[in-house]
C-alpha cells in the first residue's frame, strides 16, 4: 500500500470565464462571513449596533468612577479621561476579538463538515468583525477628544498605523492559537477568561505605565540605589514583553498627547534609575514588542495549521 497521504487538487483548472481564482474567492468569502457575523451580532437587540459603542462607554463610566472619583490615579496625567477611553477601546477590541475568534471554529461545525475552504477564513472573518467595530470606536474617540479639546495631534500620528497593525496581528495570533485549541479542549475558554482578567490589570488600561513606575520609584526612594531589587528589572521586562501595554501607551503618545511618553522612553528611564542613572544603550527596547507579536502570530498560525486538518473529524 502506498504510504503517501496527500490530496492533489490543482486550483487553476480550466473553467468557464466567470470562474474566480481561489484567492479572490476566499477573500470574498471572508468578507461575506465577516459581514453576516456583524449583522448577526446585533440582530434581535433593540439598540443593535449601538451596543458596540455603549459597552466601552459603560465600562469607561465604571472605571472612571473607581479610579478617578474613589482612588485618584490621575496624578497629573494630561487628558486622563481620553487616555482611559482609548485604553478601554483598545482593550475591548482585544477581548472581543479573541473571545469571538476562539469560538469561530467550534461554533461552525456544520460548515466545516459540509464544505471545503481554508479553515483560517473563519477565524479571520471573526477578527475582522471585531476590527470593524474597533475602527469605528477609535474614530469616535478621536472625535470626542477633538470636541473636548483634549487632543494634541502632531506628526506622531503616523505611528498609529504600525501600532494598529501590531494590535491586530497580536489579536489574530492569539485567536488562531485559541481557536484551534478550543475545538478539542473547551477548558481553554475558561482559562482564557481568567487570563484576560490578569491581562486587564497588567496592561495599564486604566493607568499609565509611567504612573506605575513612578509609584515604584517613590516607594523605593529614587537615587537610593541599594533599595533596588532584581524584581524592578523584571518589571521592565514584563512591560517590554506585554504588547498590549506597549500599544496602549504608544497609542496615547501618538494620538492624544506627547506628554504621555513612548513606552521605550519610560522603560529606558526606569532601567536607568535601576542602574543608578548609568548611561544606557538598550537597542532591543523598541523592536522587542514587535518581535513578541511576530512570535505570537507565528506560533498561533503554526498551531492552527497543524490542527486544522482534523477539525472536520473532531467536531
Amino acid at each position: 500500500m502506498s504510504a503517501r497521504a496527500d490530496t492533489e487538487v490543482p486550483a487553476g483548472a480550466t473553467g468557464n470565464g466567470a470562474q474566480l481564482n481561489s484567492f479572490s474567492h476566499y477573500r470574498h468569502l471572508t468578507l461575506e462571513l465577516a459581514i453576516s457575523q456583524f449583522k448577526l451580532r446585533y440582530t434581535q437587540s433593540v439598540l443593535g449596533y449601538l451596543w458596540s459603542l455603549l459597552k466601552p462607554a459603560m465600562i469607561f463610566g465604571i472605571i472612571y468612577v473607581i479610579f478617578v472619583v474613589l482612588f485618584d490615579v490621575r496624578d497629573g496625567t494630561q487628558y486622563y479621561g481620553i487616555q482611559l477611553l482609548l485604553g478601554i477601546v483598545v482593550w475591548t477590541f482585544f477581548a472581543e476579538c479573541t473571545a469571538l475568534s476562539m469560538q469561530a471554529i467550534a461554533s461552525n461545525g456544520g460548515l466545516i463538515r459540509k464544505a471545503y475552504f481554508p479553515r483560517s477564513i473563519l477565524v479571520i472573518a471573526a477578527s475582522l468583525t471585531s476590527l470593524f467595530t474597533f475602527l469605528i470606536n477609535l474614530c469616535l474617540v478621536i472625535v470626542i477628544a477633538a470636541a473636548l479639546h483634549q487632543i494634541d495631534i502632531g506628526l506622531r500620528i503616523v505611528a498609529v498605523i504600525p501600532l494598529l497593525l501590531e494590535l491586530y496581528m497580536l489579536a489574530l495570533g492569539i485567536s488562531f492559537f485559541l481557536g484551534s485549541l478550543f475545538v478539542q479542549y473547551r477548558d481553554v475558554g475558561h482559562l482564557w477568561e481568567v487570563l484576560m482578567q490578569l491581562l486587564f490589570y497588567g496592561s495599564g488600561v486604566m493607568f499609565s505605565l509611567s504612573y506605575v513606575l513612578q509609584r515604584l520609584h517613590l516607594a523605593r526612594g529614587v537615587g537610593v540605589t541599594t533599595n533596588y531589587r532584581p524584581r524592578d528589572l523584571w518589571m521592565a521586562w514584563l512591560v517590554v514583553c506585554n504588547p498590549i501595554m506597549q500599544i496602549c501607551e504608544d497609542l496615547r503618545h501618538a494620538l492624544v498627547t506627547p506628554q504621555a511618553p513612548w513606552t521605550e522612553t519610560i522603560v529606558t528611564g526606569h532601567l536607568a534609575a535601576v542602574h543608578q542613572y548609568a548611561a544606557l544603550d538598550v537597542p532591543w527596547l523598541l523592536p522587542m514588542p514587535f518581535l513578541v507579536v511576530a512570535l505570537i502570530l507565528a506560533a498561533g498560525a503554526f498551531t492552527f495549521r497543524a490542527r486544522a486538518r482534523n477539525f472536520a473529524e473532531t467536531l
Partner: protein, 418 residues
C-alpha cells in the same frame, strides 16, 4: 501525474480510519491526570484500500448500507477529510459543498443567505448580483426576499438552497443525500437537474440510498461494504448486487422495504432465516417439531464489544407468546482488521410448543450496558404453525396424561359440588 487527460478523479489505495476515544472526556484535566497512559482509542476503519477512477463527464453513484464509508469517501474527495493512506487526485474545479443550504443561517434574510451561502459555493459578489433575480425566481420566493430564513417553511428553504446550488459552476459535483430532503416535487426538480448535468457532461458523484435514481442517472456505481469497495461497474449490475445483499435470505422472508425497522444500526441484523431439522428453510413448522432461527449480524462500529440479541415470538394478533434473549460478547482487537465484524446467532427450539396459527418473530439487537436499540426488526419472519391434531390455544402445555385404575384421591380431595 495524469496520463489520461480525460480522468477527473483518481483514487489509489485510499484508506481512512477514525480514532474514537473510548473516554469521551478529552479535556485538559483528563490529559493532565492521564498523561502517562495514552488515550485509548478504538480504530474504526472507514475506508480500506479503495481504488477507482472516474472519467470526466461520468455520472457515478456510490451506494452501500449506513456506515459503509460512502460519505467519508465523498468528504475525502472534496478535501473535508484527509486520507490516512493512498493517493487522491482530482482534476478540475470541485464543488466545495456536499449538501444543500450549506452556510444558511436562520437569523439572516433570504437575500443575505444567498450572498453568504453563494460565497461558500464559490460565486462572486458581482455574479450573485447578476443571478439574484433568477435564483429568487426559480425558488418562487419573490415576496420573501427580505424575510428571515427562520420564518420559512422547510419546503421554501429547500427551494432556495436548491436554486442557489444549481448556479455553482463546478466541473465536478459531489452530492451527499440531496434527495433525502424535500418532497416528491422537489425530488423531481433534482432529477431534472441531474438530467441537465448529464447533458452538460459534468462529472457528478452522487451518494444516495435511492437506488432508482442511481439506476436512472448513473453510468456507473460503486458499492461499498464496511469500507471496502466490493463492486464497481454498470449501475444496474451494482444496484442489483446491493439489492441482493440487503434483500437477505433467498426465501424472501425479509426485504428491507417490507419490514418495519429502526435503531441506530451500530449492530445490524444482516439476515434472518427459519430452518427445519434438516437445515432447510421452512416457514410452516409443525407443532412439536424442531426449529432453528438463524440471525446474521454485522458490527458496524468497532467501539461495540457486546450486545444483547432478543427474540420475541408473536401471534398474528400481536399477543406476545414468548421472549428470549442472549448476551453476545465479541471483543474487538484494536487495529485488527482481520476480526470478523459479524456472525450468526442460532436460536434452537427443539420442540416447538406453538399450536395452529400465524406467528411472527420480532428481533432486536440492544446495547448491553445502556439498552440502546441498535436494530429492531418488526415481523422479521412470518410463519404458520401447523398442528396435525388441530388443537386450539396458543401453546402446547407439554403435559403428560396417565390413568391409574382403582385408586382414589386422598381425603383432602374436596368434592367441588359440596
Amino acid at each position: 501525474m495524469s496520463a489520461d487527460p480525460n480522468l477527473a478523479i483518481r483514487v489509489e489505495h485510499l484508506s481512512k480510519r477514525f480514532r474514537i476515544p473510548l473516554d469521551r472526556s478529552a479535556t485538559l484535566k483528563h490529559r493532565m491526570t492521564h498523561w502517562r497512559s495514552a488515550t485509548r482509542y478504538r480504530i474504526m476503519e472507514a475506508l480500506r484500500d479503495v481504488s477507482f477512477e472516474v472519467s470526466a463527464g461520468e455520472f457515478i453513484g456510490i451506494i452501500g448500507h449506513n456506515g459503509s464509508g460512502k460519505s467519508t469517501l465523498l468528504k475525502i474527495l472534496s478535501r473535508i477529510y484527509r486520507p490516512d493512506a493512498g493517493v487522491v487526485a482530482v482534476e478540475g474545479k470541485v464543488s466545495p459543498f456536499l449538501e444543500l443550504g450549506v452556510g444558511f443561517n436562520p437569523e439572516l434574510t433570504a437575500r443575505e443567505n444567498i450572498f453568504l451561502s453563494g460565497a461558500i459555493l464559490g460565486l462572486g459578489r458581482a455574479e450573485l448580483h447578476r443571478l439574484f433575480d433568477e435564483i429568487i425566481g426559480f425558488a418562487e420566493l419573490e415576496q420573501f426576499v427580505d424575510h428571515k430564513l427562520k420564518n420559512f417553511s422547510s419546503g421554501m428553504e429547500v427551494r432556495l438552497a436548491f436554486s442557489l446550488a444549481i448556479q455553482a459552476h463546478a466541473e465536478i459535483l459531489m452530492m451527499d443525500e440531496v434527495l433525502a430532503v424535500g418532497d416528491a416535487s422537489f425530488q423531481q426538480k433534482c432529477f431534472d437537474i441531474f438530467a441537465r448535468y448529464k447533458r452538460e457532461g459534468r462529472t457528478v458523484v452522487l451518494v444516495t440510498h435511492e437506488l432508482g435514481a442511481v439506476m436512472t442517472y448513473c453510468d456507473r456505481a460503486l458499492l461499498l461494504d464496511h469500507g471496502r469497495l466490493v463492486a464497481d461497474g454498470a449501475a444496474a449490475d451494482v444496484t442489483a448486487q446491493y439489492r441482493r445483499a440487503i434483500g437477505l435470505a433467498a426465501d424472501g422472508s425479509l426485504t428491507s422495504t417490507e419490514v418495519e425497522r429502526w435503531g441506530s444500526r451500530d449492530v445490524v441484523v444482516t439476515g434472518v432465516r427459519m430452518l427445519d431439522s434438516r437445515g432447510l428453510v421452512d416457514l410452516n413448522p409443525a407443532t412439536g417439531g424442531s426449529v432453528r432461527v438463524e440471525i446474521g449480524y454485522g458490527i458496524q462500529h468497532d467501539a461495540i464489544a457486546d450486545f444483547v440479541c432478543v427474540v420475541w415470538l408473536l401471534r398474528d394478533d400481536g399477543l406476545m407468546v414468548s421472549e428470549a434473549s442472549l448476551p453476545v460478547s465479541q471483543y474487538a482487537q484494536v487495529g485488527d482488521s482481520q476480526r470478523e465484524a459479524g456472525g450468526t446467532i442460532r436460536f434452537d427450539i427443539p420442540q416447538l410448543p406453538l399450536l395452529d396459527g400465524a406467528y411472527s418473530i420480532d428481533i432486536e439487537i440492544q446495547g448491553r450496558r445502556d439498552g440502546a436499540i441498535y436494530d429492531h426488526l418488526k415481523h422479521a419472519v412470518h410463519f404458520r404453525v401447523i398442528d396435525k391434531r388441530a388443537r386450539r390455544g396458543v401453546v402446547e402445555s407439554g403435559g403428560v396424561w396417565s390413568v391409574v385404575a382403582g385408586e382414589q384421591p386422598p381425603d383432602t380431595w374436596q368434592d367441588p359440588l359440596g
